[in-house]
């Protein structure tokens, strides 16, 4: 797939909470099959940036343009944005604990979301196959019938990534996927994300530099709500500003 054109274009967004500017005139672009890492100190606005793109937070100003038609996402509700093809993984794993892994995945699999359609929905062969395929990708094939609340922290993170992939989004926003994972689990997570980025855009927020290095992609450094530097990991880690605010501490 070619990397020409942009899938998501964020331009000049700002948002403040009680006078505190969490995002300050931020602009950002990503292409249709691109992997991007976002790093930055705590409170840099990484999660808030995702909140804005997914419709959870309304920015005070700026535009978020999406897809070939450059549709403005601002003003659309969360569900609509999700259906337009933006999937999101939260910083702390949020799966439906009281339901099985199978139910969690089936709920996420791309299908008509209309309440009446959902009511009369009975999984077809392709839906079951999709769930099986995803479960094996995230290493949970043997856990399908377990309640997801019983899974380990790392497995929940994977399940959430699996649910993300099940929606078949064009853009994945992944907030700190490796938090709380063992080294082996982290490597597996990198593989899943790299595989996903072959066919779609993936934005990963992560503090762990080793993890970011393994992703081997362009890096955007956020600081105080705006872009401080952008480029390869080696390029940004040599940037004096980045060293001062983030790495040097």
């Amino acid at each position: 797939m070619s990397n020409t054109g942009t899938l998501l274009e964020v331009s000049g967004i700002s948002v403040s909470f009680d006078g505190f500017k969490a995002i300050n005139n931020l602009s950002f672009e990503i292409g249709p099959a691109e992997m991007r890492a976002i790093i930055g100190p705590n409170g840099a606005g990484k999660t808030t940036f995702m909140d804005i793109v997914t419709g959870k937070t309304k920015p005070d100003e700026g535009k978020v343009l999406w897809g070939e038609l450059s549709r403005n996402l601002i003003g659309m509700n969360e569900a609509k944005i999700a259906r337009a093809g933006i999937g999101r993984k939260f910083q702390r794993p949020t799966v439906f604990e009281d339901q099985t892994v199978f139910e969690n995945l089936l709920m996420a699999v791309k299908n008509d979301r209309n309440p009446l359609k959902v009511l009369f929905f009975r999984p077809k062969f392709k839906d079951l196959a999709k769930v099986e395929e995803l479960a094996s990708e995230i290493g949970l094939s043997d856990q399908l019938e377990r309640k997801s609340g019983e899974l380990s922290h790392g497995q929940k993170q994977w399940l959430e990534i699996g649910m993300l992939l099940a929606q078949d989004p064009k853009l994945l926003l992944v907030d700190e996927p490796a938090a709380g994972m063992t080294l082996g689990e982290r490597e597996h997570t990198t593989d899943i994300l790299k595989e996903a980025a072959k066919t779609r855009a993936v934005v990963v927020v992560e503090h762990d530099m080793e993890f970011v290095r393994r992703l081997d992609c362009k890096v955007t450094v956020l600081h105080e709500g705006s872009v401080l530097a952008e480029g390869s990991l080696d390029h940004v880690t040599q940037n004096q500003d980045v060293i001062d605010v983030y790495l040097g501490r």
Partner: protein, 408 residues
């Protein structure tokens, strides 16, 4: 079918309901030994209707997490809608009969005026209010049983859910709606006979020759059948993906939104559907009770409904049915003056006064110590366990451990 596979309790429930219905029939005055009095058959029939509305409450609260404190208002509205036809049609028969002796045959408008005087005399009026337009038609009023509460729920739900009112604020809103409705009905010019309500509903029009013994058992059967249908519908709804989505809404509504489901649409669907189910329950209940008045719709009734479901065990269909059946029967026992007073020497406990305290206390105790309610007892047998972590992160260092391991 997944519905039966996922609800092993479904077959058990159907079986028990069938046995219960047969047993009551064979002990009734009309078709059996007469061991059960007709008034007790009515109590049992009414109890089935309460179990029905409790299932509706469980769908909306136990499964979707919307603590509606207004579903008894829909129940009452259903009763009013059918009550209007019952009262009109019966009064019409009486009026026509009494006028048949007159020298001149009465004109339709004379008949209508006479019915109006009969029905609205108690509130000092004789004109039919606009809302009685269709009262002469059985089928129209049956349609209104569904339409009036359904539309009210739809409009109310749309306004509330669209502005994302949730939790305790939503409960308060539903209480406000209930209070407003009952206060309105208390007024004499509400068109529904103020605090007199509608009465004589146990007398089916044109069925004077048939004994209440028979009518009571017919209504009992109808109630049992309606309960069965409600149970099946509820089981169907919660067993599939729709059930997954609404339970997801209950546990983490924001997450469901980010999966692309319109949470508002699902809530509105469940809220309206359960309002309609409640209304049908009411339409079966009040002909057995014989009378409906605005006190039935008072906010406290909807709170009782929540108490029944909590005591029975929310989030499982049979729990709601058990809770409603158990609590309302026990309540009939205590408030009906059947329970013997307890004389403590210095004070006599009269159950009629103390029953509410007992009920309130059991509610608090169940909420604190047995959140799964009576239904939870079945888990002891089947060893059903549900994790109670609700996404609390274990933290980076303990992250790869299961909770039990991490806490060692």
């Amino acid at each position: 079918m997944t519905m039966f596979k996922k609800n092993p309790s479904l077959m058990v429930f159907i079986g028990l309901l069938a046995i219960f219905t047969l047993a009551v029939t064979f002990m009734s005055e009309a078709y059996g030994t007469g061991a059960l009095s007709t008034s007790f058959v009515k109590t049992l029939g009414k109890t089935l209707c309460l179990a029905l509305v409790a299932i509706a409450m469980d769908l909306v609260w136990g499964y979707t997490g919307i603590l509606s404190l207004g579903h008894f208002a829909f129940f009452g509205l259903g009763g009013y809608m059918i009550g209007m036809w019952l009262m009109y049609a019966r009064t019409e028969i009486i009026v026509v009969e009494s006028m048949a002796n007159a020298a001149l045959p009465p004109t339709p408008s004379e008949i209508s005026d006479a019915i109006g005087t009969q029905i609205f005399g108690v509130v000092g009026s004789s004109d039919f209010p606009l809302i009685w337009t269709f009262a002469h038609s059985f089928w129209a009023q049956i349609a209104l049983v569904v339409l009036v509460p359904g539309l009210l729920a739809l409009v109310f739900g749309w306004l509330a859910f669209r502005s994302r009112v949730t939790g305790v604020y939503l409960s308060i809103l539903t209480q406000a709606m209930t209070l407003a409705l009952s206060l309105y009905l208390f007024q004499n010019d509400s068109g529904l006979r103020g605090n007199n309500g509608l009465s004589g509903l146990q007398n089916l029009p044109g069925a004077d020759a048939i004994s209440q013994d028979n009518i009571s058992i017919w209504f009992f059967w109808a109630s049992a059948f309606a309960l069965l249908l409600t149970y099946l519908i509820a089981a169907f709804i919660v067993s599939g993906k729709f059930g997954s989505v609404i339970r997801g809404i209950r546990d983490d509504e924001a997450r469901v939104r980010f999966l692309g489901y319109s949470v508002e649409g699902f809530k509105l669907f469940i809220f309206t559907l359960t309002a309609v189910i409640a209304a049908i329950g009411g339409a079966l209940y009040y002909p057995q009770a014989g009378i409906i008045n605005p006190a039935e719709i008072a906010p406290i009734a909807s709170i009782y409904l929540a108490v029944w479901v909590a005591i029975g065990g929310r989030g499982r269909i049979y729990g709601a049915a058990i809770g409603a059946g158990f609590v309302s029967l026990v309540s009939t026992y205590f408030t009906g003056g059947q329970a013997p007073d307890i004389n403590l020497g210095f004070y006599t406990i009269k159950w009629v006064d103390w029953w509410l305290v007992l009920l309130g206390l059991s509610f608090v105790l169940v909420t604190l110590f047995a959140p799964k309610g009576i239904g939870g007892l079945f888990d002891l047998i089947t060893h059903r366990m549900s994790p109670n972590r609700h996404g609390l992160p274990l933290g980076p260092d303990k992250g790869s451990l299961r909770e039990e391991e991490a806490e060692k």
